[in-house]
Amino acid sequence: MSATRSDSDASVTALDDHVERRPQTTPAGVALTILRWVVRIVVLVLLIDVVRILVTSKTIEWGTVAHYLTFGQILSGVLTTLELTVAGMAIGIALGVILALMRLSSSLVMNMAASGYLWLFRGTPLLVQILFLYNLASFIPRVTIGVPFGGPTLVSSDTNSLITVTSAAILALGLNQAAYMCEIVRAGILSVDEGQLEASLALGMTRRRAMRRIILPQAMPVIIPPTGNNAIALLKDSSLVSVISMKELLYQAQLIYSAQFNTIPLLVVVCIWYLAMTTVSTIGQHYLERHFGRGTTRTSPPSFRQRFGRNLTSILRPGRAAEGVGA
């Protein structure tokens, strides 16, 4: 075979120490290639059709969509949605770390308390938790901080004055998120080699300092990706608090379309905003992952632009996908 090559191309020096294996064209291979192209064309046609329906649809009323996209009420809803997500994640992460440490502690009481919490909050729907918290007053009329079992009272307050729409919404989202964050943080901590703690202790660090300075930072590459996914899920799930009339994005849209009867255009507005927010979050997540990936890889991971570029290349030139993405 090597001889054939140098025969056909005189400028290539003949190398006789090896033979080259060449790709063979079989009927089955040709059929597969044709099939691939047929599938690609069908998908492309469907895609174009979907875009055509979206663009030309009468019910979507793109003019209305454009008008409401930057409407004051909608923008304030977007802001509220973002605030709910940030507050919910903050509570979720803080409480999640505490719950994770409780689950990892050797104390049986701590362990059971944390497990019970997870059981409760992961075993019931978020929507029900939101309604439950909002109606807490009818269940626990007064919130009292003091010594239990009839001891002196330190602070006491009417539950109704504590549980407003906003506090119920934030609490419900945060408490629910904490249950999921607990498991993420726990998995992250467990992913760090035990030797890291031992080396820290041997150097004279306390467990707490070792956790903060050594263990948690190294758990971050494991913790961040699912946390980002959770934050994006929470961003969308925050629309559930519209049931207790929390004025977030969806509720604001509902207020408008129940008066104007332009449901579809407003739901499109809502979707566009959610897509914009989740897209930005995804990019933010990527940079966080890059920051906390320090020291875990020999070279720094590709930037978002590089990765996006590669994906684009693989879409445009499907045959070469394997080269870029796996690297």
Binding site: E198, A199, G204, M205, R209, R294, G295, T296, R298
Partner: protein, 260 residues
């Protein structure tokens, strides 16, 4: 290697150390005194309790019975109403900071560069200023031959380089005693030498060292005393040429014969 005669009080004293893991009685009464500037090599078959003994010294493992005393100070415990009770974490941490430990698998902090690994404990535990800590760390890295690797992350270092950074990291706390747990066992044979050279230099500089090792050449050349452990007890001990070349106990002979 001859050393100045030890002072009256040993730097480290282990008294009747027992350790049980459930039913597994791993250490069965170990007594060992180590003088200041002394280098003691701990040898013995796998599973004989060398690692456990080292970990009992700095209370990474709490002894079931017995006491470890460093410069006359009881480690990890204190007497409360006539009983020995565990020291609070903060005090125990302070005691540990005076005992350097080097692990078989290095345990370098993976998210920190070599330099950051070395300055971590001085700045965080001792409250040394970053500037001063960096100065000391740079000098230590130079001593272990890694001045040019200060900014490298552990992943970018070879096993031997990692272990030398780990030694520098322990030295940064100016320990009174260094514990080594098979520091070269995880290394490729051709790299072992570079770590042993650093340890040799450390011994020559007068560091007190307790070294669990299978490197008999190192033990012969550097140790003042070789301690042979088997089944959780010290079977015999003495100067290296006595224990390694003319052992008196059958178990020691069998262990050494298997190594050759």
């Amino acid at each position: 290697m001859t050393r100045p005669p030890s002072t009256d009080r040993p730097l480290l004293r282990l008294c009747g150390i027992h350790k049980r893991f459930g039913d597994n009685h791993v250490l069965r009464g170990v007594d060992l005194d180590i003088a200041a500037r002394e280098v003691v090599c701990l040898i013995g078959p796998s599973g004989s309790g060398k690692t456990t003994l080292l970990r009992c010294v700095n209370h990474l493992e709490v002894p079931t019975e017995g006491r470890a005393i460093l410069e006359g100070e009881l480690l990890g415990q204190y007497t409360h109403r006539g009983r020995l009770v565990p020291l609070p974490p903060r005090e125990l941490a302070a005691q540990r900071s005076a005992i350097g430990m080097v692990f078989q698998h290095f345990n370098l902090f993976g998210h920190k560069t070599a330099l950051e690994n070395v300055i971590e404990a001085p700045t965080q535990v001792r409250g040394v200023s970053r500037k001063e800590a960096v100065g000391t760390a740079t000098e230590l890295l130079r001593r272990v031959g890694l001045a040019d690797k200060a900014d490298a992350y552990p992943r970018q270092l070879s096993g031997g380089q990692k272990q030398r950074v780990a030694i520098a990291r322990a030295l940064a706390m100016s320990p009174k005693l260094m514990l080594f747990d098979e520091p070269t066992s995880a290394l490729d044979p051709e790299i072992v030498g570079e770590v042993l050279d650093v340890m040799r230099q450390l011994a020559a500089d007068g560091m007190t060292m307790l070294v669990a090792t299978h490197e008999m050449t190192f033990a012969r050349d550097v140790a003042d005393r070789v301690v042979f452990m088997d089944g959780g007890v010290i079977v015999e001990q003495g100067p290296p040429n006595q224990v390694l070349t003319a052992p008196t106990h059958e178990r020691t002979k069998r262990f050494l014969a298997r190594l050759l």
